[in-house]
């Protein structure tokens, strides 16, 4: 088991190094002079502030030192928790801005991922090998996975927000309210949260349902299912065994799909102008605030790595075979 986890950790560590290296390389090796063009395009009127920032970035990039030294000092800065200073909200550190947005993104992302996974798996298991359900859930599932996240978000915002007026379509809370722990404010938060959550949930649902349906069909063809059937076991029991086996690839699938779902969350947030990382990315792009953009990139990568590791541990807990193989049979 420790071997397994150790291997996984090695991959994640390597991924982190690669991500940081990409982050370091892109501004330096892209055509043109990004620092100069970034500063010239950033809308700063005060010449003194511009001068200060200019010298700051020259120092940060350390453009007069050799490359390997730049690379090492980049890492050193990273370990101090220093992701640079934002241009958009100068002189606020990037890390503070990001940390302010993360709760909103997580609030939409986590429930959407977990609930869609559970509900989708149930639907899929239900649909497998029952003609009518299968013929409806399968096409609907495929169309849902083919839906761009932002488009469904737009449709929901239009139908339930603008036309019916049930939910607000913009922002994380009403601007008339001050953040506080009052009932009114929490209710307002929930109302603003609901539509982004719902559209994410619905798009993600389809993929899980299809995956589960295919896995169940595969499992029902396995020898143990046939054997149970021959013994006269009730249909429900066989299905329960099949479901438990089919869960395992779905857990792995969760890890693989994570990147896509996060991208979907970012796009959904942009539609609803929800104050999470997605809107922050859009802001940093329009303001050409590359420090903020790269900070968000690192943050998302670290988040994905942590989530992957959690999923790995869950997998070990759920599947007894990994435990046995990794301790006993590993060569």
């Amino acid at each position: 088991m420790w071997r397994y986890i150790g291997r996984k950790l090695a991959v994640y560590l390597l991924t982190f190094v690669v991500a940081v290296t990409i982050n370091w390389m892109i501004p330096r090796f892209m055509p043109g002079d990004p620092v100069r063009s970034m500063l010239s395009r950033a809308s700063i009127s005060d010449p003194e502030a511009l001068e200060r920032m200019n010298s700051y970035y020259n120092e940060v990039f350390g453009l007069d030192t050799p490359l390997w030294q730049q690379y090492l000092s980049f890492w050193a800065g990273l370990f101090r928790g220093d992701l640079g200073i934002s241009i958009m909200l100068y002189p606020e550190p990037v890390i503070d801005i990001i940390l302010r947005s993360v709760p909103y993104t997580l609030a939409v992302l986590l429930p959407a991922i977990i609930l869609s996974w559970i509900v989708g798996n149930r639907f899929g298991a239900f649909a497998a090998r029952s003609k009518i359900l299968d013929n409806t859930i399968l096409p609907v599932g495929y169309v849902l996975t083919a839906t761009p996240y932002m488009w469904l978000a737009l449709l929901f915002a239009w139908a339930m927000g603008v036309v019916l007026g049930w939910f607000p379509v913009s922002g994380g809370y009403s601007y008339s309210l001050r953040p506080a722990f009052s009932g009114e404010f929490v209710w307002d938060l929930v109302m603003h949260w609901f539509l982004p959550f719902l559209s994410m949930f619905v798009v993600a649902l389809g993929g899980w349902a299809i995956g589960m349906r295919n896995m169940i069909i595969y499992e029902l063809e396995a020898d143990y299912s046939n054997y149970l059937q021959a013994l006269g076991a009730p249909r429900k029991l066989i299905r329960r065994y099949a479901f438990r086996n089919a869960m395992l690839p779905q857990i792995t699938g969760l890890a693989v799909q994570l990147g896509t779902i996060i991208a979907g969350a970012l796009l959904t947030e942009i539609v609803f102008n929800y104050p999470g990382l997605g809107s922050l990315i859009l802001d940093s792009l329009t303001n050409r605030d590359f420090f903020l953009l790269q900070g968000i990139f690192l943050f998302v990568v670290v988040g994905v790595l942590i989530a992957n590791f959690i999923i790995d541990i869950v997998y070990v807990l759920v599947d007894p075979r990994t435990r046995v193989q990794m301790t006993g049979g590993a060569a």
Partner: protein, 302 residues
Amino acid sequence: MTDVAGATGADKAPAPEPAAERRFSETLHFARRNPKLLIGSGIVLTLLFIGLIGPFFVGDDPNAYVGPQSEPPNGEYWLGTTSFGQDIWAQFVYGLRSTFLIGVFGGGVAFVIGTAIGFVAGYKGGIIDEVLNMITNVVLVLPAMVVLIVAVAYLDARGVFVQGLFIGLTSWPWAARAVRSQTLSLATRDFVDLARLSGRRTWRIITTEVAPNMSSYLVMTFILLFGSAILIAAGLDFIGLGPTNGVSLGLMLESAVAWSALQLQMWWWFIPPGLGITTLVGSLYILNVGLDEVFNPKLREL
């Protein structure tokens, strides 16, 4: 009275045809009877046709200000106009064309990288497999979209091909994994061993012995990569990292949101592009299921 059903047919049996031809006609037989395949490919081909032919009928510049502003769909402007008086139908057909382009190009790059790595890793095994597997896992864990956002943001001028190239470079890992596991199971077969004994080069064995035996699998892999490239491109376009001065379905969505079509209730501005993407990618997926059923006897519904 001892006439067996099969016996009468025996003297009318057709002349034996070559095995390859028989397999082909058998595949065709099931392909023609598979509703998923027929419907899916029908829709995809229709959209392709619109994307290919449509631009010749709507004028040269889909972004030109041709009509009245904020007009709902009517006889003259089939899908209405934007708040600047651009013809949405014209944008749609041009956007459809570039959507196919990005799908073919982005999906193609991902397909080439993914299959190459998958074949080599699965066939060679050993240390090469370990290294390639490590690379695949690293790229797999990196969230492709976010990498793309950072990389593309630094480019000043962006075209469809650059976008496709970047999408291809980040979305190949699962294809590599799938191809690798298929190759692994083929690499130990007798006919591959024979080919190896005959002293042929590795890439010759891969292209003549291994690849043809998983051709249906490769086709399906390409279709999935094609679909996901379209979705990723639409996402990039939507956050404003699309091709500069271009037209695409994602860019239409972006400008619809940027000019608050939502608040103005101009549904004709944001529904068609999204519907186009969803229909295209959805039919690709359904077509893929159909193909799977045709090629894989276990899944055939008889």
